[in-house]
């Protein structure tokens, strides 16, 4: 496959756009889809593929934020920190508790030339945990 090695670590795309979704965002989307199907059919489970069902189960289980407003807030807050899309999503998914853990999960936030010092990262993590508290 030209231009992309199988499984290579993601970089920002050729198009300059990256649209990545966190588990909690996908949960909102898939649950909504499932509800639509429930309204249209007596047997919604039969209408969805295995891929859909397994993915829905997964994102419901591994979403740190359940409330759609909280989910929006998480995206909004993380967007203020000049993160690449995938960095934003890994942080939103794994919710590291310390700066050290955040850097371990997303090493690229600490690479040379990035504006993220420990203080900024700590503030970001605090903001995220506040959303969780008031969810």
């Amino acid at each position: 496959m030209s231009g992309e090695e199988e499984g290579k670590t993601p970089r920002s795309s050729k198009l300059g756009m990256a649209k990545c979704l966190m588990n909690c965002e996908v949960a909102v989307i898939l649950e909504h889809k499932y509800e639509q199907l429930q309204q249209m059919s007596d047997d919604p489970l039969n209408q969805v593929s295995q891929v859909f069902e397994k993915s829905l189960q997964y994102v419901k289980r591994f979403s740190r934020y359940k409330n759609p407003d909280a989910v929006r807030q998480v995206r909004e807050i993380l967007s203020r920190y000049q993160l690449a899309e995938f960095e934003l999503c890994v942080l939103g998914n794994l919710c590291p508790e310390t700066v050290e853990e955040a850097i371990a999960m997303v090493p690229s936030i600490k690479t040379k030339g990035r504006a993220h010092d420990d203080e900024a990262i700590e503030k970001m993590l605090n903001d995220l945990s506040l959303i969780k508290k008031f969810e």
């Binding site: 499984g7 993601p10 795309s13 649209k19």
Partner: protein, 194 residues
Amino acid sequence: MNFWLFLSLIAEMWKTEMFLKVQLPWNVIIPAECLDAKGLMLQRSIIIRLLDAFSNKKATQELGYFLAVTTLENIGEGKVRQHSGDVLFPVVFSCVTFKLFRGEILDGVVHKVLKHGVILRCGPVENIYLSCQKMPDYRYVPGENPVFLNEKLSKIEKDVVVRFIVMGTKWLEAEREFQALVSLEGDYLGPLSD
């Protein structure tokens, strides 16, 4: 008249990890006999065929697993296909897909414990292999419910959630699915209390 669906997939992929929101152009073919239908019926017919094909496609190497269509952006003008009389409608829609990338850290669930490692599941991916060589300090404990145990008595057994890093992925064309090799080598990786 031929009653078949032709799909041409040209993906503009935004390369990131895990769940991708992708905008795709696809071609949906409507056989000539369905074209008598009025506007809305025709549109419905196009959408149904699209959703069906989308679901059946399951996954591609470039985009990963196809989860759901989110928005129908545009249905273009139909073009008559000369030999069959069917009409091809170019459709652009947005959808969500799932793909694993090397270097990514995420959570999965242990499905099976074997002597040399464990099989994990993560979303639609069912074939994730964590070798015992990539589980530093864990040793295999056989039994009716085999587990991997470390000195601190941290347990890796069936249904446990494990945080891992992806070492590599492989696309299996025949099965239309991905496999992955993962590791626990790194800080903050390993079993989690759910």
